[in-house]
């Protein structure tokens, strides 16, 4: 039973990873692409890890997979934030559809 549920989680995870990759190609500028990779890929990979945990249960492999998911949740947003801040500081423009940029206004 838990094996079937684990498989379902793994399939959902692969699906979200796939959407993240499509977003990386389709979205127009750096910030939106970062967003797609940071978000879809984080939840996708966490779901994969959770599926592995469900299949293996409380063994060495299952616990390590769970711990991997926790570390990913802690580190992935930090890297996305650091990259977007560095990009804005070094002058990468937002795409043309953008509505407003408060950060640029407050910097001056």
């Amino acid at each position: 039973m838990s094996e079937t549920i684990g498989m379902i989680f793994i399939v959902i995870g692969i699906g979200f990873d796939f959407f993240g990759c499509i977003g990386l190609i389709r979205l127009p500028d750096l910030y939106l692409r970062l967003m797609a990779t940071a978000k879809c890929v984080t939840l996708g990979t966490c779901s994969l890890m959770f599926g592995i945990f469900l299949i293996n249960g409380f063994t060495a492999v299952g616990i390590k997979a769970l711990l991997c998911a926790v570390f990913l949740l802690l580190t992935s947003p930090v890297s996305a934030h650091a990259l977007s801040r560095a990009a804005h500081k070094s002058g990468v423009k937002l795409c043309d559809e953008s509505v407003c940029d408060e950060y640029e206004k407050d910097k001056n």
Binding site: L27, Y31, K39, A60, L74, V99, C100
Partner: protein, 164 residues
């Protein structure tokens, strides 16, 4: 010194979960590694170690995790819809929201959670005035007060009880 002891306990716990055995060799290596980590980086870890002794903070953290998970699932479905839509229905831009959190770890958690929420990335934090600059994929309102209401109210109220 207190901060080093707290860090040692946390590092040892992570090691025990990671190795998942109570063999004496694992325990020896783990305690040596945790001692080294606690000795080298203990003073960077937390400014106020007494906060770790309040049990109600852990209870609120337990409540925070499912709320954040639910937000993340919504974020991903929303973003997947926008990505797969043929005309890309996005209204991107950077807005600023006001936060009432003061502690550094609280702000860090809030900024990280925003990055995991529906279509948003936190770009910068202004700790003195309490502003967070958020890059948002679908802006509903550019006014700071209303944007705060929409984006961070729920998470902020729980985080305030955990960290401040």
């Amino acid at each position: 010194m207190k901060s080093r002891i707290v860090l040692f306990i946390i590092a040892m716990l992570v090691w025990l979960i990671l190795s998942w055995s109570l063999d004496w060799q694992h325990l020896l290596v783990g305690s040596l590694a945790s001692l080294l980590v606690a000795f080298l980086t203990g003073d960077l870890f937390t400014a106020n170690p007494y906060k770790f002794a309040h049990p109600h903070r852990y209870l609120w953290l337990m409540l925070y995790i499912p709320v954040l998970m639910w937000e993340m699932v919504k974020a991903n479905i929303d973003l997947a819809y926008r990505i797969l839509h043929p005309r890309l229905p996005i209204r991107p831009g950077i807005i600023k929201v006001k936060t009432k959190l003061k502690s550094e770890s609280g702000l860090t958690f809030l900024a990280n959670s925003i990055t995991l929420k529906p279509g948003m990335t936190s770009v910068d934090v202004d700790q003195e005035n309490g502003y967070i600059y958020v890059h948002c994929v679908n802006i509903k309102d550019t006014d700071p007060a209303r944007a705060t209401e929409i984006i961070i109210k729920r998470l902020e109220n729980i985080l305030e009880r955990v960290f401040d």
